[in-house]
């Protein structure tokens, strides 16, 4: 009994950390740019595919792939922000959402054209393959790795936003865009930078997810983006701390749900999302507006 509960907990925590990697970029982009980016799931997908391809080219070096793959996706993110998204900030919400949705459609099919419509098995990572016994039952090493990386990313983002000059400028522009621009911040360039950084986070999430999920499929971005939406909403749109906690909650909820009440597993997630939106729309850590 205890063993099974501990293992369900561990599985939940690693799922949560893995959703957090994707949700972090999403909530950062929303917090600063005010755009809810459907295409973030595509960046995740592209990250996974680019890492995979580069890994193959570089003689199965996972780390080199993880370093270079997301950088390629960053170029895509830069082009999207600079030449498309920038022109819809002043428009109504539906246009912004649909613009990013258009990119979801485009990238889904582009991936099918380039890498084929079937799914690709992801190679395991040397040194992180296999599993270790915890309380007499095996637990994958790679999941432990994800559980370490997740908090490190959170810590890194917190340090950057709260402790550096860049972070101050980002926070200033997100709370008052005009004022920041009045004191000399080049807001459009900053927005591009934040979007590219968010893209990088999503792509890294994808690169790290590939060995965890085990399969690369053209539609993989669409399923993760909804999980990330749920997490971002629960934590409070734009709040990093909230997204981190939200990811843990959703990870645990879905892992316990799958184990004990599989019929209502998905239902629980969305009822939690609706409940938070109704009773505390600013989320656990979002600022009331």
């Amino acid at each position: 009994m205890l063993t099974s509960v501990v293992h369900v907990c561990l599985a939940g925590l690693s799922t949560g950390m893995f959703i957090w990697l994707v949700a972090s970029g999403l909530t950062l982009i929303f917090g600063v740019l005010g755009v809810l980016n459907f295409a973030h799931g595509s960046f995740y997908m592209l990250g996974a595919y680019f890492c995979y391809t580069l890994l193959r080219v570089m003689g199965n070096n996972f780390w080199l792939g993880l370093l270079l793959g997301p950088l390629c996706v960053c170029v895509v993110g830069y082009l999207i922000e600079r030449y498309f998204l920038r022109y819809v900030y002043h428009l109504a919400l539906p246009y912004q959402l649909l613009l990013t949705f258009a990119f979801v459609l485009i990238f889904d099919d582009l991936v099918k054209i380039v890498w084929g419509p079937g799914s690709i098995g992801s190679p395991s990572v040397a040194g992180l393959a296999g599993s270790v016994p915890i309380l007499g039952r095996n637990f994958p090493v790679y999941n432990i790795f994800i559980m370490v990386v997740g908090p490190l990313v959170a810590l890194g983002m917190w340090a950057m936003l709260e402790r550096t000059w860049w972070g101050r400028i980002i926070r200033a522009s997100s709370s008052d865009r005009e004022m920041a621009s009045a004191i000399g911040v080049k807001v459009p360039a900053l927005f591009t930078a934040v979007f590219v950084f968010g893209t990088w986070l999503g792509a890294v999430g994808g690169g790290l997810a590939a060995p965890y999920v085990g399969l690369l499929t053209p539609g993989m971005g669409e399923s993760i983006i909804i999980d990330a939406f749920v997490v971002v909403v629960i934590g409070g749109l734009g709040s990093l701390k909230g997204a981190f906690l939200g990811a843990l909650i959703i990870g645990l909820l879905s892992s316990f749900g799958t184990r004990y009440i599989p019929t209502f597993d998905m239902f629980l997630t969305f009822i939690l999302m609706a409940a938070v939106l109704l009773w505390k729309p600013e989320g656990f850590f979002g600022e009331a507006k």
Partner: protein, 325 residues
């Protein structure tokens, strides 16, 4: 003169629809039926989206509820098509009333996220309650029984017979939506879109109007769903998925959001374009994404917007003066 032109156009379109029903090939009839079902979905949706200014990602759920309600009634209680459609509509009405009651507490992005959450709840129920809904297989074997009307019965089993049933609901929907749009009620909805504060100051119950728009669009989605279940003779759980809820938004956007005919023309283009693109390539989503990109970046009025812009340029200041008058 303008009015006469519109009436002539309506009569010609109706005649065209009837001629198509009498002489069209099976495939043309199938496409036309799908276009009309999508139009009902999109035009109803646009009461909430274009008219009231609320973006919902949950209307696929009402479409599915209409389809499943219709199918369940047909399989377990009575296969009479009209009774089944009414059952689907009632279920869609109840669901949209309950879900709408919660959703209209918010606007903008929070409204969109709430509808997404509720829509996905319905999806997860349809997906997981296998015993009732058939899970990922959906419900199959929905028959198109003849419509018994006491003294006589109308068969709808053949494609062209069913086509006329859909034409009936299509024309009825257009008429109802036209009346809604041009009623004082419709005017209040436009007012809510333009400035909800003022509507509130005028002493009108904002939430009730939003809820009414939500329920009306939900019921039309249910109608479209139940007709599609009859057309395909099965139900698809993915019709409740959020990505299906995006379809009427795309259709409205192609045609033109804040116009009456926009969703209708958008549906024709959507289904037709998809048919054409799929003939050449598997990757219709890529092309569709590019078209969507083009519309958002450059032609936000949609097809109807572009046409009326051309119309205005040709006529010069003439329409301008007509508008003021």
């Amino acid at each position: 003169m303008r009015k006469a032109f519109v009436i002539t156009l309506c009569i010609l379109s109706l005649a065209g629809l009837i001629l198509l029903g009498l002489y069209g090939t099976r495939f043309a009839l199938y496409l036309a039926t799908r276009i009309m079902i999508l139009s009902i979905f999109a035009m109803g949706y646009n009461i909430l989206f274009g008219k009231t200014g609320l973006l919902s990602f949950g209307h696929g759920a009402f479409y599915a509820v209409g389809a499943y309600g219709m199918a369940l009634f047909s399989l377990h209680i009575n296969p009479h098509p009209l009774a089944c459609i009414v059952a689907g509509l009632c279920l869609a009405f109840i669901f949209s009333l309950i879900i709408g009651f919660f959703c209209v507490r918010h606007t903008e992005i929070y409204f969109a996220m709430l509808t997404l959450a509720f829509g996905m709840m319905v999806f997860s129920l349809i997906w997981n309650l296998r015993d009732i809904t058939g899970g990922d297989d959906g419900l199959v074997g929905i028959s198109r029984a003849p419509i018994e009307l006491g003294l006589f019965s109308i068969p709808i089993a053949k494609a062209n017979q069913f086509y006329f049933l859909v034409v009936f609901f299509f024309v009825l929907s257009i008429a109802v939506i036209y009346v809604i749009n041009n009623s004082p009620f419709g005017l209040v909805l436009s007012g809510i879109r333009e400035n909800d504060r003022r509507i509130e100051f005028a002493g009108l119950p904002l939430r009730k109007f939003r809820l009414a728009a939500f329920v009306i669009s939900g019921v039309f989605a249910g109608l479209a769903g139940s007709l599609s279940a009859l057309l395909e003779s099965n139900t698809d759980p993915f019709s409740a998925h959020w990505s299906h809820s995006a379809e009427p938004i795309l259709v409205s956007l192609i045609g033109g959001i804040q116009t009456f005919t926009g969703p209708l023309i958008g549906s024709v283009i959507f289904v037709w374009l998809r048919e054409i693109i799929e003939r050449f390539t598997q990757n219709w989503m890529l092309w569709f994404g590019l078209i969507l990109l083009l519309i958002i970046m450059g032609f936000r009025g949609g097809v109807v917007g572009v046409l009326s812009r051309i119309h205005r340029i040709i006529l010069g200041s003439d329409t301008q003066s007509q508008r003021i008058a």
